[in-house]
């Protein structure tokens, strides 16, 4: 398997000398092509910061991140936008759809930014939309559809441009459990059938159980790593719960 993302000893500090917060403290890991990797941890554990660093929205204080051998911490300011739109796909917690655009146009937006020929845009959207089961709502506006449908649209937008990696930040955070499950099945489908590499930040064990590999963060460090392997989702879910129990149950927290 080809390594697609390589995170090397990255650190991210906030604050000043007297009051230093280490949001990320020497994290290293690899993501292989076609992997569906989850990052878990409590609030403040640094998982969103990690995602932001990978997505070039934030910069690291030290260390390197390679996406297919390109060091993204070294990309020049003026090239970042281009890098982002060519290589990354995003799914956000609060959908981030533009309410003035229809679902179809929201998906088309990323393609127009990438200057995809106008004639291709339609067919590409339709193809992906069919796979993700949203072709019937393409002409509706975001406020006319449910949260689950909105997030499926966002997922569609994330993958339509064939990015090297899809970054999802708490994608089920705003959904009810049924919609969340549907969305996760779609993301799983994107991973298994469309060969998308996905990096998902979540604190929900159910969501995490869809991943093949999970990193647990605590206080900016990797606390644990587990693989799904041949386990069933149910077994994997229980394993996650065990790690979480360990993660939250430090002795000095309870006296």
């Amino acid at each position: 398997m080809k390594k697609i993302l390589k995170v090397e000893q990255i650190q991210k500090f906030y604050g000043n000398k007297d009051n230093l917060t280490k949001a990320i403290d020497e994290i290293s890991f690899d993501v292989e092509e076609g992997e569906f990797i989850g990052i878990m941890g409590a609030s403040g554990s640094g998982k969103t910061t990690l995602l932001n660093c990978i997505s070039t929205i934030d910069t690291v204080s030290a260390g390197h991140i390679y996406l297919e051998n390109q060091d993204i911490t070294e990309i020049k300011e003026e090239d970042i936008a281009q890098f982002r739109r060519k290589n990354l796909g995003f799914i956000f917690q609060d959908f981030n759809l533009l309410d003035t655009l229809t679902i179809e146009e929201n998906i088309a937006l990323i393609l127009t930014i990438n200057q995809v020929p106008e004639k291709e845009i339609d067919t590409r959207i339709l193809e992906i939309a069919k796979k993700l089961g949203i072709e019937e709502i393409l002409n509706k506006y975001p406020y006319q559809v449910s949260g689950g449908q909105k997030q499926r649209c966002a997922a569609c937008r994330a993958i339509v441009n064939n990015p090297k990696i899809i970054l999802a930040d708490e994608p089920t955070g705003s959904l009810d459990s049924k919609s969340a499950r549907q969305l996760l099945e779609i993301i799983e489908n994107m991973n298994q059938n469309m060969k998308a590499t996905i990096l998902m930040v979540t604190h929900d064990p159910v969501s995490a159980s869809y991943c093949n590999k999970i990193l647990f963060l605590k206080d900016g460090k990797i606390f644990n790593k587990i693989q799904k392997g041949e386990k069933t989702r149910k077994d994997f879910y229980h394993e996650i719960l065990d790690v979480l129990a360990l993660l939250g149950g430090e002795q000095n927290d309870v006296r």
Partner: protein, 674 residues
Amino acid sequence: MLGKLSFRNAKRQAKDYVIYFITIVIAVALLFSFNSIAVSSDIAELSSSMKDFSQVIFGINLLIVFVMAWLVNYTMRFMLEKRSKEFGTYEILGIEKKDISKMFTIENLIIGMLAFVVGTAFGCLVYQVFTSIIMNIFEQPYQIAIVFDWKAVQTTALCFFCMFVLVLLNSRRKIKKTKVHDLLYADKQNENNRIQNAKGNVALFVISIILFLIGLFVLNLDYADVDKMDGKETMIAIVMFITGVYLFYRSISSFIVKRYLENKTRKYQKNHLFLYRNLTSKINTMSTTLGTIAMLFAFIMIGGNVALLMNGMLNNEIAMGYPFEIMVSSLDGDFSKYREYIEKNAKVTDWYEYQTYYISKTNVHKALEGTTFEERFDDELDTVLDLKDYNRLREMLGYESVSLKEDEVIVQCMKSAEKLFVDYAKKNHKIEMLGKEIKIKEVRAEHLSQLGFNGYMYCIVVSDAVLEEIENRGLKVEKPSYNDIYKLVVQTEETTTEAFYNGLSEYLVYDELEQTTIIDGEEQHFMVNIALGNVSTRGNRMTQVKSFYTMISFLAFYVALIFVMATATILAIQQLSDSEKYKYRYELLKKLGMEEQGIRKTILKQILFYFCLPMLIPVLISIPAVLIVGQIFTVAVTVGEIWKNMVVVIGIFGLVYGIYFVATDVQFERNIEI
């Protein structure tokens, strides 16, 4: 405690209030400076007609107060929306609505008072500038002195607080009505996306265009024929324009959707998708405001142009009608008393007495047939000038002298009708006169007062031989109705004054004259007291014209500036509030990988489009409308000058507007922090 909180808030909100604050300051400054001019005794003394100026200003203030109230109300609503979360939090913390609205009121009072004080101080300066400009127009010495007129302050304060109180009451009512939930989640609310009947709207769009065209046509009916002008058509046209404007801005977004967003190839080009969707949703929610703004613009443009045309006409009238400083005419040719007075009261550089002759109408007047000039031309006689006199007059005005062969004449006409006469002379080289044909040597159009002093519209200059023949044949009309035969023209060293004119006119002789008028088919005779002759001086006319000029241009400037500022502020505030409210849209674009350059360009286009849109219809309508209305000025103003005025008005307007546009663009980019 609450007072402290609101004072601190006002301080902290200062950044957000900047555009609003500046606009209020400028408005107060203008309000104050114009009120100062209105009550200033220096200016009232300049001429008798300047006294009307103050009354007009007080009247116009009323209009200004309404426009300002609209503006302030709008800004207040924007501030309320912006701070909804803050107010919502206060409410959740248990502060009563009553107290919140009290706090908001105090805060706005602080800002308002500050703006008032700064504006008044600034207004003092502006007043100095305006006064020196006015004094300069009247060529009066003026020394800058700090004048602080309490009456002006009072009037300004009254206007200002009327407006402010009205608006505050309105926002207090609004605060009382809103619910906590709405306050807390105001930023989550979407643009009011009415799903519209697109087909119907495109029909409305077409109707609005048709209304504009018919409106222009109807307007033309009124102005094409000045004598039949009754204003009825103008009213109809105005109603059509207003209806058209609102329909247009209601339906334009559907048109854009149809034009740019229905065709997928066009839609997916460049950044069309984001840009036009943003715009159309904005236009949809703003159509009424845009319509109102467009109407104000149209009002400024047409009003400004007509004001400039009037000025142009008056200035041209002086050049055309008053080539000499003093012009006296009389029926008896006795100018001794006049000369005595003139010599005593002015430094004469040159003078000349001469006589005009009259013959029955020749074919020359046919040059005016079928034009707007024809209607005013009902004289039975043509005026004739002797070449000797003509050359002497030319000499006085610094023109080269001309010569004529025995059988030649010159047609001396008004500048504005020059082309008509030249064209006519090309086709008809001869003039029928004294029963034979005499050659027209040339047509000349220097200002030699063909505005009635030496003929009306034109006069015929003849050689001595022809003149002799006129006298021999007895064709000279002795007392041709009221045409004065004998003329005196004087050039002086300095411009004469209003008082000089009043003194000179004392010498006019009046006589009872029987006049016959036909009323209801019956001839009626009555006596009128009529002056046997006429006195006019350039100095006097200039004072009058200057008063008018000052009044019109200052008022037009005043109203236009405030209107433009008010409207541009509203557009700017709209865009800036959106920049904060919809910051996430641009953040998303950035996350999706659009380059900064691209985002900047999109924003620039969006604001440009948004600022141009309400200007589009006013410019498109006002150009033909001004040309149509300008027809009544064409006696004294050429079409070229009308165009020139138009460029000036649009230019000045565009400049002020442009400043707001640039400021908005800069602030917009700063707000979304790309």
